[in-house]
């Protein structure tokens, strides 16, 4: 058989690209806000060239073959960039699917007198493009996962600041839910800071924790016990009435922990146990007075 | 899917081997850039299990593997002995249960320190305990 799909497409490369660009640009979902037309064209051109160039030398049905890796690399690169730029899966999918449409359209125009051949070659193109779509989606999702992972790390980092409120007193406000991973980070940061500052009292403020169930309570108890092992004391503050209620209703025993309603009263307790005194300046003196 | 990247077998017969094994585990954990806390947890769990193996199984072997799953790397340890085996694993996994005079924290405690834990035992044939800790898990 003399028909050569690769050669045909190579000849029609320009046509394919134009058709594809037309498809893409006419699509309502085109994200001109995220990608410029020039960039879109250069991405598309690169991909078409590499696919067409590869068709001649590689097995269309086997994407695992080494020779396909340049195509997959280009496609993967595009998918990952799109995931990071905030394209939706549908928009990313359209990118590949509209190429398939363009390829099939060209094929249909070129093979006019042999329906069997047209069918055979269309199936080939279909199969290839379907496999490439799968690759695109896999990479797209991987890109999104990376974004999520990075954000998770960032949140974990910014959400556990350890504050030195006084010489020897640390405070750690917890905002959001306390799961086991977060507890781990809280404990690590707190204990490390205790060592570095030589602090003997740590205040864990849970005003920003929406709810305390038995699991969260367990995490709190763990943190307190670990602090104690280091030779420092840990006070839990910011306990709202609702939290006190649920704690008792759930039968959680917090009796081994020093708890205070507010950060202020925890601080007062800390001052007392460090034998520090904070007093108001007497009214008839104008200059500052320490004490 | 979890792939095994390297394997190393260590015989444990004397109590001095406990420290030796801990050092080997540490080397491997450092190599895959495991954080200090996770290292400490892994080595402590290994220490508990190797002691168990010496006390109840008359020693045995420990297989140290570096494993990977996608972008995660981890350390997998498999402790096998030909000791008397454990009749009731459920009971052995409970906190504070011990047939010896230890604290009974070895098995349940180790499980809490790692990401994956598996125990198989047959009375009269021996016990195999597998633990796995991911570098950032």
């Amino acid at each position: 058989m003399s028909f050569n799909l690769a050669k045909l497409l190579e000849k029609q490369k320009k046509n394919i690209l134009e058709l594809w660009m037309k498809n893409q640009l006419s699509d309502e979902g085109l994200r001109e806000d995220l990608i410029s037309n020039e960039e879109l064209r250069s991405q598309s051109e690169e991909l078409v060239s590499s696919i067409v160039a590869n068709l001649g030398k590689s097995d269309v049905s086997n994407l695992d073959d080494e020779s396909w890796s340049p195509v997959i690399e280009i496609l993967g690169g595009i998918a990952i960039t799109r995931a990071r730029q905030g394209f939706s899966p549908r928009e990313t999918g359209r990118f590949v699917f509209s190429l398939k449409e363009a390829l099939l359209e060209v094929l249909q125009k070129e093979i006019t007198n042999d329906p069997a051949l047209l069918f055979q070659e269309s199936v080939k193109i279909n199969k290839l493009m379907d496999n490439l779509s799968i690759v695109t989606f896999e990479t797209f999702i991987k890109g999104r996962e990376e974004v999520i992972l990075r954000q998770t790390d960032e949140i974990a980092e910014i959400s556990t600041p350890v504050i030195r409120v006084w010489d020897g007193i640390l405070a750690l406000p917890i905002i959001g839910t306390l799961d086991s991973q977060r507890t781990q980070i809280v404990m690590e940061n707190l204990l490390q800071e205790i060592v570095e500052t030589g602090s003997s009292i740590a205040i864990l403020d849970i005003s920003g924790v929406p709810a305390v169930d038995s699991l969260v309570a367990q995490h709190l108890i763990k943190t307190v016990s670990a602090t104690r092992l280091m030779g420092a004391e840990c006070i839990i503050s910011g306990i709202r009435p609702e939290i006190a209620q649920t704690v008792v209703h759930l039968g959680i025993d917090l009796s081994s922990i020093i708890t205070k309603a507010s950060l202020a009263s925890a601080l007062a307790y800390a001052f007392k146990s460090l034998k520090l005194e904070v007093r108001k300046q007497s009214l008839n003196t104008n200059h500052r007075q320490h004490g | 899917m979890i792939l095994s990247l390297s394997k190393d077998n260590i015989e444990v017969v004397r109590e001095q081997d406990v420290v030796l094994l801990r050092n080997r585990v540490k080397e491997v954990a450092v190599k895959i850039k495991m954080g200090l806390l996770n290292q400490t947890k892994l080595i402590t769990a290994a220490s508990e299990l190797v002691r168990n193996m010496l006390r109840y199984g008359n020693g045995g072997t420990c297989l140290i593997e570096v494993v990977s799953r996608g972008r995660d790397n981890g350390v997998r340890l498999t402790f096998s002995d030909q000791g008397p085996g454990i009749a009731d694993i459920g009971q052995a996994m409970r906190d504070g249960f011990s047939t010896g005079k230890s604290l009974g924290l070895g098995l349940p405690g180790s499980k809490r320190l790692v990401n994956e834990f598996d125990i198989k035992s047959k009375v009269g044939e021996g016990t195999t305990v597998m633990i796995l800790k991911w570098a950032n898990g």
Partner: protein, 128 residues
């Protein structure tokens, strides 16, 4: 160190060494009449349940011999691991470092001068 004993553990102990330490230390408490024992574990990177039990034992045994034990300098990773393992070392006093440990021991044995301590050891109730 006056009436305190300071023990610094420098290496990861294997079992027999740890048991020896337990025996030696209790002997020393008895021989010197020390009122306090400081165990510095800042150089110890792994404390498993065996090691934890030895520390607990030393504390309990010293207590019977009328001496207080304070464990100082535990590393953060060790503390977190012990808690996860289920070994909070209840009954063992802790302090951040040797200096703080000494302060704690002093308050625990009521800050009395040595002579006083030795004159009325039985009548002296613990302050805390």
């Amino acid at each position: 160190m006056g009436n305190f004993l300071l023990v610094t553990i420098q290496v990861d102990l294997y079992d027999r060494l740890a048991l020896n330490l337990e025996a030696d230390l209790v002997q020393m408490v008895n021989k010197t009449g020390a009122k306090g024992v400081l165990i510095d574990i800042s150089a110890v990177s792994i404390v498993d349940s065996f090691m934890g039990r030895i520390i607990g034992n030393i504390a309990s045994m010293s207590k019977i011999l009328d001496a207080e034990t304070v464990v100082v300098g535990m590393q953060p990773a060790v503390a977190i691991t012990l808690i996860e393992l289920g070994l909070p070392l209840k009954g063992v006093q802790t302090a951040l470092n040797v200096e703080r440990g000494m302060d704690l021991l002093k308050t625990m044995i009521d800050e009395s001068p040595i002579e006083d301590e030795q004159e009325y050891p039985e009548d002296d109730p613990f302050a805390q």
